[in-house]
């Protein structure tokens, strides 16, 4: 993020306003061989103007249409949640054999989506991937919202969501009976709440200097008050920046193992049980790769919409999307390898129950779901080997949605096909979701998009200070 000053280019920029007659671009240049990350020969003032002006005008028609649609979806979800809580979990299609299905599928799906933000902001930061600067802000916001969506499902699934605080180890009147620290479900609670907190802190910390920029620029009184309070009196002093940089690096280093731990722990929910199809040692890496894979697919879907809706083509370029496609290709291939490994290990184990799960997944009553999962996650990303597809926006958009669908089905397959035919054939059952469960899934998308659209209006969608630091990434 920090800039090292090496070279000064000189370009005159016409600037309206008396205070600043003309400014020079003095971007330090990282490399003359690479293509620029930000197009359009931007000066520092251009970056500030371009990003901040997205906050100023009244939202356009595109935003209002998207917002109304999202709100309708959210209302559907609220109705479904109220119905579930007031009537009971019996409104869902669960039965004695399949005790986890839609709710937990949605939970794992959204947690997975929530992995891309921190991957981009922490892991790519440590690997010095400068292209992350254009997408990290909105990817982090996406992470926060996705984790919120995820967290709702286990809470609603409890049936009595107002007692959810019972998972906290707090001194209580039940003889101070503590929570069971040996249970992966409790690890999960700690992992996800920590992850949410750290992601929120990381996101807010990155936002502070940009809120100061917005504060110094906005004319609306209300917004100025908001930005003034939220920017904490930031003045861009070098001592402040220097400590800020240190903390950003430290947080990235802390968030990296954290992001890997979260989905590992989610996978423990399954892997530590004895159910064939769940009881598997490859689950942690397999889940983490799948999470990053689905997260990147969602970031690509969102970024394509955002750059179109907010005219950010100069900032989120085809190159950014291509880089994300490469990450999706890598993680998608890991997921594909995990699918094949799972089949091999299942058959090689010689355990009749394990072999049966493999056969039942591929050929049983839920085979359609398995093959949607397999084709969308293992085969579709392989198309990203072709540069033509990696650089075509419509192709990326279509493929990213297919991957999202596939990753939802992956969780459905893992959960339902393992449970519905277990050790005892007399207890075999089928699972069909009810309209209430579908309503909750729809509602979670409503919440996701509603919150994301509000974020787009309220905060700078691209990290202004970080983009200024990479303007000189390559010579124009």
């Amino acid at each position: 993020m920090a800039v090292s000053v090496r070279e000064v280019g000189r370009v005159e920029i016409n600037e309206t306003g008396q205070q600043t007659a003309s400014f020079e671009i003095a971007h330090p240049v990282y490399s003359k061989l690479r293509s620029p990350l930000i197009l359009g020969h931007k000066s520092y003032a251009d970056v500030t103007r371009d990003i901040c002006q997205l906050l100023d005008p009244k939202p356009g028609r595109g935003w209002w249409i998207s917002f109304s649609v999202s709100l309708v979806l959210l209302v559907i979800g609220v109705v479904a949640a109220v119905h579930t809580v007031t009537t009971g979990i019996g409104t869902w299609g669960l039965n004695k054999t399949v005790g986890w299905a839609f709710g937990i599928t949605n939970f794992v799906f959204w947690i997975g989506i929530g992995h891309a933000g921190t991957f981009i902001s922490a892991i790519l930061f440590l690997f010095n991937q400068k292209w992350r600067t254009s997408v990290n802000r909105s990817a982090e916001a996406m992470t926060l919202i996705a984790v919120m969506c995820a967290g709702l499902f286990p809470i609603i699934h409890m049936g009595r969501p107002w007692l959810f605080y019972w998972v906290l180890p707090y001194p209580n009147t039940r003889g101070t009976l503590w929570v069971n620290f040996r249970s992966p479900l409790l690890w999960d609670f700690f992992a996800i709440s920590t992850y949410f907190t750290i992601s929120a802190v990381f996101w807010y910390l990155g936002l502070v200097p940009d809120l100061a920029t917005a504060r110094d620029r906005t004319k609306s009184k209300l917004r100025q008050t908001l930005y003034r309070a939220m920017s904490l009196g930031w003045n861009g002093s070098n001592r402040t920046w220097s400590r800020y940089e240190t903390v950003y690096t430290v947080l990235a280093a802390l968030a990296t193992p954290l992001v890997l731990s979260v989905h590992s722990i989610v996978s423990f929910d399954f892997a530590t049980s004895l159910i064939p199809g769940w009881h598997s040692t490859i689950f942690p890496p397999y889940f983490v790769a799948g999470a990053v894979f689905s997260g990147f697919a969602m970031v690509m879907t969102l970024m394509i919409l955002v750059r179109k809706l907010m005219h950010l083509e100069d900032y989120i370029t085809a190159q950014h999307l291509e880089n994300m496609c490469k990450v999706a290709l890598l993680t998608g291939s890991i997921v594909g390898l995990a699918y094949v490994t799972e089949i091999f290990i299942g058959v090689y184990s010689g355990n009749p129950n394990e072999i049966f799960v493999i056969i039942n997944r591929g050929l049983g009553p839920y085979a359609w779901a398995y093959w949607i999962m397999f084709s969308c996650n293992a085969l579709v990303p392989q198309l990203f080997w072709f540069k033509k597809l990696r650089t075509s926006i419509p192709a990326i958009f279509t493929l990213s949605i297919l991957i999202n669908v596939g990753m939802w089905f992956e969780r459905f397959v893992i959960i339902v096909t393992s449970l519905h035919r277990d050790f005892l054939p007399s207890s075999w059952a089928m699972y069909t979701p009810t309209i209430t469960e579908v309503g909750l899934l729809v509602g979670s998308f409503g919440l996701f998009f509603t919150a994301f659209l509000i974020f787009l209006r309220l905060f700078p969608v691209i990290s202004i200070n970080e983009v200024k630091g990479v303007l000189g990434y390559a010579k124009h």
């Binding site: 090292s4 750290i198 920046w241 802390l254 200024k468």
Partner: protein, 181 residues
């Protein structure tokens, strides 16, 4: 500009158009013997810290302390609850099932270390800070856009108002102004 008395003065501020001139000016100011100096920029500039002689920060130690407290606290919270306060036989596992306590211990390490990092940074930077004299400078709103500033504070032992102004003017500054308290 109205001349202000030195006692009411926070310092003298020079405005620069690009990071390179700021860094060069900061180096010269440091070389001229000024120590209470600070640069202001819209994005972090690594060389600037060296130029103004700000190279060490205690933050990593604070983070380490936070991580250690989080780790010990996380583990012994579980140990105390499961072994001392209310031992409960869960599936025949030992009361001190330490391997099962590790995931939560890890999460506590990360949580406390990250909080130590963020709150440590805010404390060392004295944030939130609703008022700071530099905001009194006329063009300072540009510090978050595309302007670069260097301040010699009046607290500097070598500080002499006229001398500091003359010195900063000699450094290719766009403008030199006084910053009132």
């Amino acid at each position: 500009m109205v001349k202000t008395k030195a006692s009411r003065l926070y310092g003298v501020m020079a405005q620069f158009d690009n990071p390179s001139t700021l860094v060069a000016a900061a180096r010269e100011t440091y070389a001229a013997g000024y120590r209470k100096i600070n640069g202001y920029s819209p994005f972090p500039i690594e060389e600037l810290s060296e130029a103004i002689g700000f190279t060490r920060t205690g933050l990593p130690l604070i983070v380490l302390a936070g991580g250690i407290i989080g780790g010990l606290g996380g583990f012994f919270m579980q140990y105390w609850m499961e072994v001392i306060n209310y031992p409960l036989n869960v599936g025949g596992k030992p009361f001190n099932s330490w391997p099962a306590f590790i995931p939560i211990t890890f999460e506590c390490i990360v949580l406390c270390a990250a909080f130590a990092a963020v709150f440590g940074m805010l404390a060392l930077n004295k944030l939130p800070q609703p008022y700071h004299p530099v905001f009194n400078a006329p063009n300072f709103a540009l510090a978050t856009r595309d302007s670069f500033f260097l301040v010699i504070e009046s607290k500097d032992p070598k500080f002499d108002h006229d001398e500091a102004r003359r010195f900063l003017k000699s450094l290719e500054a766009r403008e030199v102004v006084d910053v009132e308290l």
